[in-house]
């Protein structure tokens, strides 16, 4: 177990390093950062001052090593626009994004697992077909548009939920639903195919030959095996959801990390942008590692192979 975890950790560190290089290079794409920071009205002298102030006159490698060294200590530098430490900005906004992501995941799991099971049990009937069409509906729905439609209907016309901002749990319901929509199709299909595979397996035939009740066959023997891939995909989906929260936070004006990123991109605030990219990537890496370990716990074949 230890050896396995260690190997995963090393790969994770290498991935993190690569993402760091990429996110660093990303901010250097536009050419001269000093000019973009200084803005269109700045004079040549202003640009030079800024260049020196931010250490942009040094070679790229030095800049990168400097950034990476500080980032490892949790220091992502200072935001140009917010005039605050980037780490503090992210720490302040992260709870909102995490709440949103977990709400979305919870809604997605609550909807998709029963739907997927239902479709599998009724495979190749109109019920199955309907579930698949519903999943495809979710997949085809542009999330930002769905958000706007919900704001008009549930928010404005019916007045059930607040339209934007944070403050109460009600504020997370609509964005949560919208975010869940992005994960429901994949999770439903996965539950369905996992259950169909389990139900068609030899051990389910054995369970039937043993005269077990339908409940025990479905709930105990089939679900346990179908759940194994769902768990790892759920963790990955949470990672994608956090990455995708930028659109939904912007639509609902939720001041989370995604919103922060969007603001920073619009303001050319590159230390914030590269830090957010890195933090989201690290969260994703951590989530996939957690999923691997969880899988090993659920699947005895992985546990002691």
């Amino acid at each position: 177990m230890l050896r396995f975890a260690l190997r995963r950790l090393i790969v994770a560190l290498l991935v993190a390093l690569t993402v760091m290089v990429l996110s660093f290079m990303l901010t250097r794409l536009s050419g001269d950062l000093a000019i973009s920071i200084a803005g269109a009205s700045a004079t040549q002298a202003d640009v030079e001052i800024i260049r020196r102030a931010y250490g942009l006159d040094r070679p790229l490698v030095v800049q990168f090593l400097d950034w990476i060294g500080r980032a490892a200590m949790g220091d992502f530098g200072e935001s140009f626009f917010f005039k605050a430490r980037v780490a503090d900005l992210i720490a302040e906004r992260m709870p909102i994004t995490l709440t949103l992501g977990l709400t979305g995941l919870a809604i997605a799991l609550i909807v998709s697992i029963p739907l997927g099971m239902l479709a599998a049990v009724r495979e190749n009937t109109w019920v199955d077909r309907l579930v698949q069409v519903i999943a495809m509906f979710g997949q085809a729905m542009p999330s930002f548009w769905l958000g706007l439609i919900l704001m008009i209907t549930l928010g404005l016309q019916l007045g059930w939920l607040p339209i934007s901002g944070t403050g109460s749990w009600q504020h997370y319901v609509m964005p949560g639903i919208v975010l869940a929509f992005s994960a429901i199709p994949a999770l439903t299909r996965l539950t369905r195919s996992g259950m169909i595979q389990a139900l068609g397996s030899d051990y389910i035939r054995t369970a039937r030959a043993k005269g077990l009740s339908r409940l025990s066959i479905l709930g105990k023997h089939a679900l346990r095996n179908a759940a194994i891939p769902v768990v790892s995909i759920a963790a990955v989906q949470l990672g994608f959801m956090l990455g995708g929260s930028i659109v939904i936070e912007t639509v609902f004006a939720l001041h989370g990390v995604g919103f922060l990123a969007w603001e920073s991109i619009s303001k050319n605030d590159f230390p914030v942008v590269q830090a957010v990219v890195l933090v989201l990537a690290l969260i994703y890496i951590a989530l996939t590692m957690a999923a691997d370990l969880l899988n090993a716990l659920l699947d005895p074949r992985l546990r002691s192979a």
Binding site: Y203, R205, A207, G211, S216, H221, D299, P300, R301
Partner: protein, 327 residues
């Protein structure tokens, strides 16, 4: 003669436009091993699953008579049928590698059969499971109970399947190709085990196989299936001494027997391939591949009865083989 334990008359199973079993009839008596033998697609496994009511959705089952220990299985609702399965009739399968649930321990899978049918504590069920594991020749049964299927070899898993089938002292054990996936040395061990258990427990075994060698060594009675029908049925010795259906004869000629068939000599073989039979097919299904086929074979085929409960489905009369041997 007392009533047989399992009495199947005119069993039919159809999937869509394929007739998998077409009026198969055979009986299994208490304490007897009855082998159903045939090539893939002949309907032997489907017949076994039909008895257990384990056919896949979409399969249509019907029969003139399907009686187990005096109960009409055709009239039994699935819930009552489930109460019989695993309790009075048990089944083991071909693939021991996939027939056990990978997510649960051997012990928990064995115990649940007992608690489901007989109730009682899990502890008591586990004790019984340990005893049965020992009985099927597994050493250190206590340790095995806590293991997961993937930690066992194929032969051990099949032993676990057998022990699990015996949890509730069934009267009938249906074994569907139980040794096909195993090595020859392990196959011999498993078959010996089945033979022993049958002797000790008075079990009736319905064994499905494609291997005439297994049939010869373990069965008291044999039914040969071809294209969904039982084409020949006889006590084992009688069948091998005087195979009477042309298909049975062809099949036996195909098997290389050490010391019997000369090396450079060709094996006997049956020309052509097994036809796919649709519902409503008339006549003998073997006629296109048969050297003895005649125009009448397209019509209804008579069931010939030879000596000592030796039956076969053919236009040729009982004893026709004697004239062929003379020729």
């Amino acid at each position: 003669m007392s009533a047989p334990l399992l009495d199947i008359q005119g069993l039919r199973v159809e999937f869509g436009d394929t007739a998998a079993v077409r009026g198969a009839s055979f009986t299994v008596s208490r304490g007897e091993t009855h082998c159903v033998v045939g090539e893939s697609g002949c309907g032997k496994s489907v017949s076994a699953l039909a008895v257990m009511n384990l056919l896949a959705r979409g399969a249509r089952r019907s029969a003139d008579r399907l009686v187990f220990a005096g109960q009409d299985l055709l009239a039994l609702p699935e819930r009552r049928m489930a109460e019989l399965r695993g309790d009075r009739m048990a089944m083991i399968f071909q693939e021991p590698m996939t027939s056990l649930n990978p997510a649960y321990t051997v012990g928990s899978q064995m115990a649940e059969v007992y608690t489901r049918h007989r109730g009682g504590s899990r502890r008591a069920a586990l004790d019984r499971a340990a005893g049965l594991l020992a009985k099927v020749g597994i050493t250190a049964p206590g340790m095995r109970l806590g293991q997961f299927p993937h930690q066992l070899s194929g032969g051990l898993r099949q032993r676990v399947m057998i022990a699990m089938a015996l949890m509730c002292d069934p009267e009938l054990l249906i074994a569907d190709e139980p040794t096909t996936a195993l090595d020859v040395t392990v196959q011999a061990q498993i078959l010996r085990l089945l033979a022993e258990l049958q002797r000790d427990l008075g079990l009736a075994i319905l064994l499905i196989t494609h291997d005439l060698g297994i049939v010869a060594r373990i069965a008291q009675r044999v039914s040969v299936m071809y294209a969904g029908e039982v084409v020949e049925s006889a006590p084992t010795a009688a069948l091998f001494a005087d195979p009477s259906h042309p298909y049975t004869r062809g099949l036996l000629a195909c098997v290389p027997v050490p010391g019997k068939v000369k090396r450079e000599e060709a094996l006997g073989s049956i020309p052509g391939v097994v036809p796919r039979i649709q519902p409503g097919f008339e006549g003998c299904a073997f006629r296109d591949r048969c050297a003895h086929a005649a125009p009448v074979c397209a019509g209804p085929v008579p069931r010939q009865r030879g000596e000592g409960a030796h039956e076969f489905l053919c236009r040729l009369p009982p004893g026709w083989t004697a004239t062929e041997r003379a020729a």
